[in-house]
Symmetry: C3
């Protein structure tokens, strides 16, 4: 199984699919191709929250603002999974959530036909080759060299005390739900919470409040989310990815 | 085969795909994940018009404004098909179009990890399990209990006489075509029809009129549609889902 | 393997998938369903640049402003591939890029259930049937008749001298990159180029210039593109599909 994720929109992912299918009969599964453009942190978050739900697979992930520069091409083994993508930090947060034991390899990028579409010309054929080699045998292929030097990325963590949490907005989802990095248990036992000073009811579900009303919930990722029932939390709270958020 | 449909946008459906693939090797086919948000009626319409074209399959469908409340979790057997989703009416219109003989079951929802993403935590594993059990054996699984009590939903029907039809706009499609619930044969033998009072030519195809001109056609669902050739019918006619429409 | 491409948006492609899967177990792969609406030239370009990356397959492609008129239904054999779609020129540019040896057939459209959704009622069953018959056996099926009369389409080519190129904008991609039809080697050895009179740096990659700055690159299709690093080239340059562009 090979999963595909990118910020390529459409129809560029189709060329990746074709290239992969030239080299393997593996099942292909799309994760998403509409990650926020060239936003490595947001894509790393979504991959971290999604890839652990998959059975062992090769995960091709391309959000690559440095395409065509001399940034390296990485393969990260995480347990029975392998992640393939650019050396810009993208792969590390999801790899660490998939498994505890990681090996990082630098791959020979070959001689890509283009300098602007390495998803098609570098990463897709590499992901297919990694699938055919098998995750267990990555250490024995000449094309991959173990490395300790790679761009790492840690998603920011919130500072939490009993009465106050200072965190960041990680992403805003398609529904407009504002996903923070404050662990959900901060809401335990509270009926209201102040979000950047404004009191908001705490609810277990969107439907805990009337349509159009704001609610602080524990989202499906386990973090505090600032939502509006049947509305957009980002508009209501005036929050965007990267913004600071204080709960008390 | 398992089909997937939701109003989740992206990338949430990927977690559902992963959860399903942890439990089954079934082929996955996306129906759509951009149904109008939390609009059970629109989603029921699209499922009704789409699922009958599939071979026997398990159809996972999640448009669920009541996620996290105590609404039930349903499995509907319709002939050789099974539909899995929330108990809010969503599954009944498509089930009745797939087959005449239906059995409705309430499923044990288990202990979902989240209260806001039952697509991933309840419905996806259930759909995989239903697929593995097999549609014929649903009655013999402990996890499902036959029920006569469920939320039903009937899409509205038009009131039609020889000279006049009073109906509703069911949905507006991506092209801007306004799909009504007036059966297409109302247009038989007519060259023009008045849509809420404005005369519009009747055409067999969009191309029957000049680009930018309005046309009343029999759409691919068999209903009267109010369209504009190479334009948007909803803008031209000022019609939105739920609006009343009178043809004469 | 059957690939699917259209300008149908969502959820219409799902009905095509179902119809195909009623008739074949072939692997289905989406190319794209958000081609610019009813823009045969843009779709032909994207198919031309994408289908050659696939292994042998049947390619179902529907961008069909004349749906329901008496335009013919074509199957084009291109080497080990077959393309299925309307007779409006759409299939020829990609077919010629897939292989040099082409055979063109007119197909019996049958008696479609609708006059507005031939993707579901004509092209999807035909593509499944072509897949089951096999590309090598197309000449021996009664349903297909060889033809020399079909709508051809040539994408425009640029007029290029050593110092000046006069071309057209073929498409604008999702990133806002303006794809011209000027062959990339026109930029060889140049550090700047004037795009319709405005001097722009030539770069191998988007990252060759600062974020927000314009750059002329050789895109992944081998043509000159007018881009903005982390921005939209179409907005910066004021260029849209079909516009003339002069480089000197």
């Amino acid at each position: 199984m090979i999963t595909l994720a990118s910020d390529f929109g459409s129809p560029y992912p189709a060329a990746m699919r074709g290239v992969v299918l030239q080299r393997t009969d593996a099942r292909l599964v799309d994760v998403a191709h509409d990650f926020p453009r060239q936003d490595v942190r947001a894509a790393a978050f979504w991959l971290r929250e999604t890839l652990p739900y998959f059975p062992p697979a090769v995960h091709l992930a391309v959000v690559d603002p440095g395409v065509g520069t001399d940034r390296d091409v990485l393969v990260v083994r995480a347990g029975d999974h392998a992640l393939v993508g650019p050396d810009n930090g993208l792969l590390l947060p999801p790899a660490r959530h998939v498994a505890d034991d990681l090996d990082v390899f630098v791959a020979d990028p070959g001689a890509p036909a283009s300098s602007t579409f390495h998803g098609r010309d570098v990463f897709a054929p590499l992901a297919a080759d990694v699938h055919e080699v098998g995750v267990d045998a990555l250490g024995s292929t000449d094309r991959l060299a173990p490395t300790d030097e790679f761009v790492d990325l840690e998603l920011p963590t919130a500072s939490v005390s009993d009465s106050r949490a200072e965190g960041d907005v990680l992403v805003v989802d398609d529904f407009g739900n504002v996903v923070t990095n404050v662990p959900g248990d901060f809401l335990d036992g509270r009926e209201t919470v102040r979000v950047n000073g404004d009191a908001v009811p705490v609810g277990e579900t969107f439907a805990a409040v009337a349509p159009g009303d704001p609610v602080a919930t524990v989202g499906s990722h386990g973090y505090v989310e600032c939502d509006v029932n049947r509305g957009r939390g980002d508009d209501y709270f005036g929050l965007a990815p990267g913004d600071e958020v204080t709960l008390d």
